[in-house]
């Protein structure tokens, strides 16, 4: 293998190593428990984006509590009581998303990557179910450590 090819393979391995590698959403979604009575479910996911920004995996906070990380190609969910919520990430630029959930409601938050001056940022966006479903079906659970 010449030097250029070796460098290319190394780059691909480096980029992809930051991606979620657990079971796929489609293979595990049937096993999700129903939303507890009186609660709402909030899904968080990040598209793989061809591994772009793989080194940027900030923590995701819901009303100040860390609930996961924005792993490329990964998803997770939390069940919470109805009410007002704020999503923030622990990147240098603290962009937030605020929304309200009702009991029984299922919400989808996409963790989008945007490029910043020095590093990428993760921007939380509220996404409609019909748009989120085909995207989240391509994601995986973050690898268990």
């Amino acid at each position: 293998m010449n030097r250029l090819a070796a460098l290319s393979v190394s780059a691909v391995v480096f980029v992809m190593s930051g991606c979620a590698s657990g079971p796929g959403f489609k293979s595990v979604s049937a096993s999700f428990p129903p939303v507890p009575a009186g609660s709402a479910r909030i899904f968080f996911y990040r598209n793989a984006n061809m591994g772009m920004g793989g080194a940027v995996q900030p923590g995701v906070n819901l009303n100040g509590e860390k609930i996961g990380n924005a792993v490329p190609g990964g998803f997770f969910y939390v069940d919470r009581p109805p009410g007002d919520y704020q999503v923030t990430t622990t990147t240098e630029l603290k962009k937030s998303l605020t929304f309200h959930v009702d009991a029984g409601q299922v919400r989808y938050v996409r963790l989008g990557l945007s490029m910043g001056l020095m590093v990428g940022h993760i921007n939380p966006e509220l996404v409609e179910a019909q748009q989120a479903q085909p995207e989240i079906e391509k994601t995986k659970s973050p690898k268990k450590s």
């Binding site: 007002d84 919520y85 704020q86 630029l93 962009k95 937030s96 998303l97 605020t98 929304f99 309200h100 945007s114 490029m115 910043g116 001056l117 940022h121 921007n123 939380p124 966006e125 509220l126 996404v127 409609e128």
Partner: protein, 131 residues
């Protein structure tokens, strides 16, 4: 384009992408008074924007239900269309309508009002007319 110019363009884009204006939030003279009834369906697409330059399209055929009233008008939300307004941060938003015109958005978490850049007359249809 040479490398220097490319670098400058990328720098400007990077700086601008991190410098969006915050959504202009106005206090209400009184809290939202919950209400219900008077649902309507949007007869045609409505394009609207706020002071940050953020634009949204309210889709034709979406159903909207009265959620409450504030000093600026009646507040409606929809099960058919999720609405957010965006500046530096992103906020869920409900429509505020006065005299069948879109005047702004109610931010349910912040409990504030943000005006649209241009008041827009809506073509409303009642549920009964649609069914």
């Amino acid at each position: 384009m040479d490398l220097k110019l490319t670098s400058i363009v990328l720098l400007i884009i990077s700086v601008l992408s991190g410098c969006a204006l915050p959504v202009h939030q106005m206090d209400l003279s009184a809290p939202l008074a919950p209400a219900s009834g008077r649902p309507f369906v949007l007869a045609e697409d409505v394009h609207c924007s706020i002071s940050t330059g953020y634009q949204r399209t309210l889709r034709a055929g979406t159903h909207w239900d009265l959620f409450g009233t504030i000093d600026r008008g009646e507040v409606y939300r929809s099960q058919d269309q999720l609405l957010t307004v965006e500046g530096f941060n992103v906020h869920e938003a409900y429509l505020v309508i006065k005299n069948e015109s879109l005047v702004g958005f109610y931010l349910p978490v912040e409990k504030k009002f943000t005006p649209v850049s241009k008041v827009t007359r809506l073509q409303l249809t009642s549920h009964e007319e649609v069914q």
